[in-house]
């Protein structure tokens, strides 16, 4: 038994240093040389130079002037220090009533700017909470559903809003991998830059 304790202890300690310190440090060192922006969290800055967010982390939007992201299950919404999904089951009555309320809220966002809500049904990603509570994207269909409202609230043309959305739409990688998506924060920063 004693003969096994030394190798076991030494092995744990040596590899604690190798895999616990040297390895992350090497990754960190090379990453800061090759990909400094990504390595520190992909911050994007607003027009005033302050950090306006991470390119990868979504933010909450509730005003009709902005493109809305997906519902978030974190407290408060889009809390990037404590990520969380809703974990509501597929037949949950709570989920059922939450979705009903989200549909109503989205439709009401149109009446608030003096329009009637579009006849098209709302794409499912816009009325469901994401897995992380921090989803930075919505589907292009969900963005399109909001165009008329944003245009009315800002007094710009629908074509202009749709053009900005198209600029910040990514297609699946090589046309196959992943889904098409609109970057909500980038669209909203672009909208603000256009007519503050």
């Amino acid at each position: 038994m004693r003969a096994l304790l030394r190798p076991a202890l030494v092995c744990c300690l040596v590899f604690s240093v190798v895999t616990g310190i040297v390895y992350p440090a090497v990754v960190g060192g090379v990453a800061s040389l090759l990909f400094p922006r990504q390595a520190s969290g992909s911050a994007i800055r607003g027009t005033d130079g302050r950090i306006a967010g991470s390119r990868l982390v979504g933010q909450p939007f509730t005003s009709g002037r902005y493109l809305w992201g997906r519902p978030s299950a974190t407290t408060p919404a889009y809390n990037a220090a404590a990520s969380s999904g809703s974990n509501l089951g597929p037949t949950s009555a709570v989920l059922d009533s939450l979705v009903r309320a989200r549909v109503a809220t989205l439709r009401a966002s149109y009446t608030a700017v003096g329009l009637s809500a579009p006849g098209d049904p709302i794409p499912v990603d816009l009325v469901t909470a994401s897995g992380s509570g921090l989803d930075p994207d919505i589907s292009p269909a969900s963005a399109r559903w909001q165009v008329a409202r944003i245009a009315a609230a800002r007094g710009v043309s629908r074509e202009r809003v749709q053009a900005i959305i198209d600029q910040h739409t990514e297609r699946p990688w090589l046309g196959v991998v992943g889904d098409a998506r609109v970057h909500v924060l980038a669209v909203n920063l672009a909208l603000d830059a256009e007519r503050p």
Binding site: L4, P7, A8, C11, C12, V18, T19, Y23, P24, V27, G28, V30, A31, L34, Q38, A39, G41, S42, A52, G53, Q59, P60, F61, T62, P76, A80, A81, S83, S84, G85, S86, N87, L88, G89, P90, T91, L95, D96, V99, R107, D120, I122, P123, V124, D125, V127, T128, G131, S132, G133, L134, S139, S142, P172, W173, V176, G178, D179, R181, N188
Partner: protein, 579 residues
Amino acid sequence: MTGKSVLELLVFVALLAAGAVPLGGYLARVARGDRHLLARVFGPIERGVYRAMGVDPAREMTWSGYATAALVFSAIGYVLLYLLLRTQGVLPLNPNALGAVAPDLAMNTAISFVTNTNWQAYGGESTMSHLSQMFGLGVQNFLSAATGLAVLVALIRGFSRERASTIGNFWADLVRGTLYVLLPLSLVLALLLVWQGVPQTARGTVSATLVEPLRIDDTTMVTTQTIAVGPVASQLAIKQLGTNGGGYYNVNSAHPLENPTPLATLLESLAILLIPAALCVTFGHLVGDRRQGWALLAVMFVIFLPLVTMTIAAESTATAALAQDGVAVNAGPDAPGGQMEGKEVRFGIAQSAIWATATTAASNGSVNAMHDSFTPIGGLIPMWLMQLGEVVFGGVGSGLYGLLAFVLIAVFVAGLLVGRTPEYLGKKVEAFEMKMASIAVLAPATVVLLAGALAVGTTAGRAGVFNSGPHGFSEVLYAVSSAANNNGSAFGGLSANSPFYNTLLGAAMIIGRFWVMVPMLAIAGAMARKARVPVGAGTLPTHGPLFVGLVVGTIVLVGALTFLPALALGPIAEQLSAR
């Protein structure tokens, strides 16, 4: 289910096969101790480690010596990790000033990482200091995977040797697996992931000013967003490659900083299955008959492919809670459609479903979508894959040694059918091996059922349930299946951080790990001692479709007969009551 989903699955499978074949050949060279490029570079480190440990890598061990070394090593790893978690509050590299981890949670977490389970009863960014993540959890990610790898290599030696009393040196297998396999692969993957946007920094948080302040009520406004960052990429790479699954963030690889793009998720989900798939190829190399390895890989794919297709199909539909008036649930090029609650838009349905199936086929357990919110059938398949004993790909090393237990049972049953002594790779399969294989197969299954019964039969167990009805039962069944088979994924609604669940699941993880590992090493010892029987007219070839079918049948029958009654109370009842 769209044509694009099928295409994504094909891309995934093609890339997996393309990576597994060369890696399998390389792993065989490492296992044999052959000379290769990395051995020339890191050879001095390897020899230095042996000197510091005071071991002679050439000195071989009996199966019991090998098993004792593996057990002592795991025990020491457990003690060190437990102490680190209990003292992280006063140790350095704690930028967010997190306190000590509570005793029951520290015990559960230490067991979880030492057994390669990575069940997480805590939220990473709000519980673990950087030191704990890197120096504690990250290290066990490597060492627990390397332990599984070592045990598998020893078992293969048992099959390929004749009249031998030893099965290799545990320390040499452990060090080589870490230095030459897990570390280099992790380094490459970590850098690719940083390129895609995963942070790797010593800082704890980034503070951003919200573009639109969030009004909570009349007096409270949220104006800033605190974004948790840290050494994420390095831990993420090994958590995927080592079939660990313990994420940096609470929501694991659903977090946009842990899994920023569709390309990142493709790489991460390939990394889940890469080593377990490659080890089948390695097996063929090491037993001197490549076809034997292809047959085992075929077993895995024959079970995996229909199940992953069913998961994609199930998630492409939406339950009534989502498919309400005024909601569009159909997929199109501009909309994911389907059961999007708990899923991320950048992955959509296909990448979420492929991941969920891969992570539970392998004993990885990381998630990129919340399994708790999957459709009943979409949640049943991951659960059942775990209950099959984590042998369809399974853990690094542990998956294939678990599968070999089923292989022995399959040849034994086949032998009984035709009235001949069963053989595998020229070795007679006798009573002792059958006893050991039965323990390895039945121990985790027994624990799942007993622990599940205990949890739903006690107030403390029921207190953790989040959703009501059959889905609540599914949460419990999923948790015990995950722990007893060393997977680590969860129906996240279950509040598992209670003394009851921390203790119950801790015990389940220990049994699920070591009551498989030790019997399989005993088989290794018994097989090594046997002489090879010449191939005769009555020998069952173990590389053809008939054999693949027998093994698949054995796995599916054992899994179905053992768990159908329990599954009927959970996901099946939920599916039937849904509409």
